[in-house]
Symmetry: C5
Subunit: 396 residues, 5 copies
Amino acid sequence: MARKPFHFFRSAAPPDPTPPAEEEDNYLEDYFFDEPGAMPGTLSIEADAPPPTIILIDYQPDQATRRILETPEECGPYLSSPSVSWIDVQGIGDEDVMRRLGQVFHLHPIVLEDIVNVPQRPKVEDHDDYMVLITRMVTPKENEHGFYTEQVSFVLGQHFLLTVQEEPERDCFDMVRQRIRTSRGIIRRYGPDYLAYALLDAIIDGFYPVLEDYGERIEELEDAVVTRPSRAILEEVHQVRRELLALRRAIWPQRDAINAMIRDPSPLLSEEVRIYLRDCYDHAIQVLDMVETYRELAASLMDVYLSSVGNKMNEIMKILTIISTIFIPLTFIVGIYGMNFDPDTSPWNMPELEWYWGYPACWAVMLTVAGSLFFFFWRKGWFKSTTSLDPLETER
Amino acid sequence: MARKPFHFFRSAAPPDPTPPAEEEDNYLEDYFFDEPGAMPGTLSIEADAPPPTIILIDYQPDQATRRILETPEECGPYLSSPSVSWIDVQGIGDEDVMRRLGQVFHLHPIVLEDIVNVPQRPKVEDHDDYMVLITRMVTPKENEHGFYTEQVSFVLGQHFLLTVQEEPERDCFDMVRQRIRTSRGIIRRYGPDYLAYALLDAIIDGFYPVLEDYGERIEELEDAVVTRPSRAILEEVHQVRRELLALRRAIWPQRDAINAMIRDPSPLLSEEVRIYLRDCYDHAIQVLDMVETYRELAASLMDVYLSSVGNKMNEIMKILTIISTIFIPLTFIVGIYGMNFDPDTSPWNMPELEWYWGYPACWAVMLTVAGSLFFFFWRKGWFKSTTSLDPLETER
Amino acid sequence: MARKPFHFFRSAAPPDPTPPAEEEDNYLEDYFFDEPGAMPGTLSIEADAPPPTIILIDYQPDQATRRILETPEECGPYLSSPSVSWIDVQGIGDEDVMRRLGQVFHLHPIVLEDIVNVPQRPKVEDHDDYMVLITRMVTPKENEHGFYTEQVSFVLGQHFLLTVQEEPERDCFDMVRQRIRTSRGIIRRYGPDYLAYALLDAIIDGFYPVLEDYGERIEELEDAVVTRPSRAILEEVHQVRRELLALRRAIWPQRDAINAMIRDPSPLLSEEVRIYLRDCYDHAIQVLDMVETYRELAASLMDVYLSSVGNKMNEIMKILTIISTIFIPLTFIVGIYGMNFDPDTSPWNMPELEWYWGYPACWAVMLTVAGSLFFFFWRKGWFKSTTSLDPLETER
Amino acid sequence: MARKPFHFFRSAAPPDPTPPAEEEDNYLEDYFFDEPGAMPGTLSIEADAPPPTIILIDYQPDQATRRILETPEECGPYLSSPSVSWIDVQGIGDEDVMRRLGQVFHLHPIVLEDIVNVPQRPKVEDHDDYMVLITRMVTPKENEHGFYTEQVSFVLGQHFLLTVQEEPERDCFDMVRQRIRTSRGIIRRYGPDYLAYALLDAIIDGFYPVLEDYGERIEELEDAVVTRPSRAILEEVHQVRRELLALRRAIWPQRDAINAMIRDPSPLLSEEVRIYLRDCYDHAIQVLDMVETYRELAASLMDVYLSSVGNKMNEIMKILTIISTIFIPLTFIVGIYGMNFDPDTSPWNMPELEWYWGYPACWAVMLTVAGSLFFFFWRKGWFKSTTSLDPLETER
Amino acid sequence: MARKPFHFFRSAAPPDPTPPAEEEDNYLEDYFFDEPGAMPGTLSIEADAPPPTIILIDYQPDQATRRILETPEECGPYLSSPSVSWIDVQGIGDEDVMRRLGQVFHLHPIVLEDIVNVPQRPKVEDHDDYMVLITRMVTPKENEHGFYTEQVSFVLGQHFLLTVQEEPERDCFDMVRQRIRTSRGIIRRYGPDYLAYALLDAIIDGFYPVLEDYGERIEELEDAVVTRPSRAILEEVHQVRRELLALRRAIWPQRDAINAMIRDPSPLLSEEVRIYLRDCYDHAIQVLDMVETYRELAASLMDVYLSSVGNKMNEIMKILTIISTIFIPLTFIVGIYGMNFDPDTSPWNMPELEWYWGYPACWAVMLTVAGSLFFFFWRKGWFKSTTSLDPLETER
């Protein structure tokens, strides 16, 4: 069945098989879509998607074990045991495994589709036996600007939590794993709902380092747009705006989802965890708040850029005008005395050329003209740089 | 009775009979309107509208038949039979047929008017015996940018689904027809409400390929506005904004209509189908989300364009200023020594002309002036291209 | 008691008695206002307002009569008769007649004030015995752009409908009158509420032809702003924005009023008419939708205009720069050999002047310089017109 | 206790004691604020505030008396008498009087603070025995643009209405006073709630003449920004925007307050007065509607201004370019024949100088060049003025 | 455990240990965030945070004492005594002290985290035994523009109020302390809820002086952008916009928090205090109102700036055009008579050179040309300064 993921800004040449480039831009990819009319529940997996690794972490207050499972069916016994079982599936690149996983967990075909056909819009859905939460995780790139993004799906049951990550390479759950292993804090004493909160909180907190990077980039750009407006800076500003738009699209529905979890009581979420979720909701609002602030700053940067270009043009025009208007009259004067009217045929024909002080007088006139114009421009304040940052210097 | 469809941007010459041009622009056509004061229920059919073809697909879990009906009255027996009957009317170009169709299905005159007098704003209306759903279907053009748009009206009854398509040429229902024929999935086991969902889902999913094309166009324009801002690019950006506005007007009311179907319980929609509709609603929100994102990007492109034009002008001005300010003083100097003051009448009259090193000294002065100005511009960084994309190169 | 209507853009000279000019601008006039502190219920009639004509159309399913009444009191007998009586008052220019009309219909003083002191904001008010509806009717001008606007007030009672039109010259009710006369459709079988619906529907539908005209004007302007940005085009764009703003102010409160009629049940409106009003409400939303779309397009036109002016300036600058930078160096060169250094006093003084190939060599140098600069500009793509519409031509 | 009123745009030099200037700008003054941490209920009166005059108007259906009271205590007997007592305090410049007034009317300290520490944001507060309404009254300036603004506080009790005006000089209540004196209309037959309505209505209606003035200014500016964009016009547009912002801040909360009075039933407001208040609410919405319209027009004017400046620059550049590009090549040509190559040393050295038709041929070449360029510019349409208002003239 | 505060615009070099610079920018610092996945309840204290000083003020109607406590545990006895105990903790720089404080007051770990890990978004949270209020206090800088900001956390119990200030140096509570000490007003007669109100009111009122400063800066900038648009002014405008954005982020959630306190009844807040809180809420709305007004003005300033730059450029271009277009034709004329056509070889070769009135005639031609151009520019009004503020002067 023909399906394809929809990339927001995929390269213009359609069959471009360079995955690194695609990798780099994938935080701008847009939502997955089916071929119109396709059957609901169809799974669509990209050829190069990494195959899934299934990691089980099973814990109760006094012990915790970690196993890598070979087949989804091995999860079965853990699902109904009273201990908390966290099944973490990293990678979605095997349709057969994903289907069997759906059967083990009794997932509705549409739910399985939401998990596998990435990216989906973040949301929460309350089914009878389990709650499904689609989230979007961002992680900053190491050596350059920008961020990676991937979908993390949660299926929360009575005694288990299933998480499915789109990419196996990186996540921001290491600290939670450590807390389980070392039994730090209260995590082992609570059920899978607390675990889901802890992971969700880690995802929301993961937006902060990414945003911090944008704060720095905007600060640098604020200098740059005023001092050296150029095509590269212009593209950078536009790029920042585009990426912040993508971030906003990632966090906005997540905030709504968390709010729905707090507001609509579900038997799967205990009262205590709901208190913690309020904290998580506060963080989501803070993130959104920062994104909006940065977006306003970036939009205002474009205004500043435009004004800077105008200033720069004024500077250039001033130089041209000063030089031109001083020398053009002088050139006219020297042109006069380059005329070949014959002084011999008439006393009116350029007698100046034969005066004793003719040449010095000509210079005197020219210096007077140049000086007057110079004084005129000085009075208009054109010799004070308008690009100086010292406000006193630009006072008239 | 005088009526006419209202085209958003019809060509200025009113009786222009060139259908291809009209065809090309019809996704911008605006809502149909009656002559003020006309009777409600009047049907208005364009002369060149294609005549309707009536295709019946009747199915139940174990069998499915397909017939092309000659007259609307042939539908009659199927309407009350327990099997699901899908009557697909392709084209609306025959008032008589449409009226008889209305009688067969017992449609209210205002409902028939909404179906025939296209385009109408998408909406859902719950009548006693049937539910009416007006939708807008978009299909991408094959070899050029843009999209076709047409109205598809649904009338959902107890045992039947009537769909009326404005244009017979193309639709995005082929996959659904195939699913019925091959009995893929669960479609044959459900009633006409599931069929309506499946078709509606196909319509919503049909927006994605169109949007994908806009994503690519915007990406191309992002390059173009910075590197070569021109009148053609400007018109292209404006065109994209205009078309996205049209898309938004098509999807926005459809989202509201689906939401109304989920929210307001109707006996014609089963609980299970309502769950599927939630998925369809998610897709509608995703589409709207993408349209809004593209609209923001396109609006921001206009800012970038304006800034680019300013940059370009700066480049031009720099060249003019460099050349002018270097050569104008030099021209003045050579003008001086073109003056005809008579050296013979006075020792003060241009004695330089007769000096031994006069001419080389003149050159030395000129080269010094040119070099100083050259150095001045180099210090100001004017020889580094501001249109370079390498940020390092534009550092001062 | 001193009162005066408030015109939005009245001419600067206050006592300007030219009614045609005022007529032309009256769709921009703003709401009527009393002198602060004036008594509620005071009527204020302009001196040149046309005197009212009272036309009665009385009908029941099997007959319809039309009479022109001399005095308001003649209405009396019709008001309580079971037949439907439509009293259409055209013109409000006689305070005495209006007051007597108010007495005949038992109107509250504030209601009469709303009817007479035009313009008022459209609204609906439910009194005990009657319902008052203030609407705004627009009609396109015949031979020029723009539209006329006037207030139409409805008073709907048990057996009658009173309509008061501000201007007698034109309205869009002719089709409704014809339907009553010829008994087309169902109008004669329904009560005055259906008549009110039919007239209201005619008013809403009357916005479409006006909007159609704006669609065409915007389309023409889209071409014009790119190809020939000028002061006239700029004013035209601003004018269109201003008029669309006026249209929006007219339709927005009307949509609210119709919504209130649908939502709040009144015994004066039958259930069936409420179904028809839903259709009318759909049209009002469509009109608003179109107005908003046109407003966005017009606002975006201003951006395009600004960018076009920048492009135009670039074109002009390019021509200046090409000509200047090619000829200025050449002029410098010819200036050199116009210098009068005396070749006789020194072998260093301009020996070129006496070379055998001096003059041809000079030309060779000049042609080389000009050719190089020409090549430089050709490489920068300056000879390709940036105002060409063919995108291929503007590729670098 | 240190307190000070906070002026929006007070002059930069802090201890500037020039009250007239302050007076002129006071419609932009911002809300009053206490020193942080100061005790609630502290009164802060400016040194130059005018001392209060207390005017009592006591009326019942058949009689009305007017007295100027010396002390607040004289109000006492009137407060509980069944006749309607309107105590109008003009000016708030005496802390002692204001405190005693508060005691006579049993006002809560915070209420008294709201009345005295002007300006406050308009609002309505329902206390047990009385209702407090803070409003803002605007009055147009006589001989110049702009408006005065002052706070008017209402305290409505069972049998009395207390109004406190910030400034005694002007108000818009004269017509109401006259209606009481002459017993015009129904005012004497109603209670203090109707009086409060009448005064509030006068305040709202008082916004119309001010807005009318802005309508005229905007109309004038619409011409000016296109025909002669200048610094003075730019400041005027900005000033209008700033003042409309101030107007909006004044009317917006007042609309909310009136709405609250209509919505929340209070025993102090009779049903009948509430009907009148609905009319008053309509007017407040109309005023807000006009303010928003003017704000949109003024914002759009700034766009027009920017475009006009660009047009103007294009005009200037065209003149420069036409003159420069025509004469620069000619100057080059005449420069050629000013060169001093010696025709005697070589037949190749400028033989043209000695041709018989040399000089006329030179002129012929120059005229050809000039004519070609002239034709080129004429073809580009540069000689048609782009600032002409006749659209036909600017057609290419 | 690795944690770090997140500064909005921290300097680009990460380990920059210069606290004064950081101090200066700290009102733009963004919300605190944990390392993703970190345990909730972890405290993170900056190395250079000032150690806490604990000041106890214990009062009842007839007496008040003030003590500086050495350890948090000393608070214990006061908490349950009926007198009001205000424990003011200034500085949060000691994790051990803060933890012990949390134990003494029985604070939930997440509450303690909100208090210590600054900055947090302002909010109110109702726990069983106490109410937590996170606020943001701003104080104007003494000798420069801008403001300091710090978090103040309130914990309100039955008999105590705990406030924790981020910075010990400055606050705006001195007046409240004085009122307690001198028993001014009613503060000693009320409980800790009134104290909390008084402090919160002081914090809200503390925004006014800061805003007053922005009002003055915007007023100064309004002049500056028109008369001397420069890079420094541009940066100043952008800076003001950025800081107002920060102010808005500080006051917006505080308004919501106060509203929640008024709306949701808590046993810890008495009815009377809730009336006072309504006043405080009014002030918060006023502050927000002013911030929004200033933001609109500052945004509009950017438009004005852009227009001013355009005006300035027009001025420069006019000077260049006047000088160039007058002198370029003259230079051409004098160039003509500098040509060396030999008058001897032909009567057509420049006979003018030997005319008797040749030279004076040449001057006459040149003066005529210059005069005509001068008159042309004078007619276009170019000699009137467009930067003049007198509108009459710029009339054509």
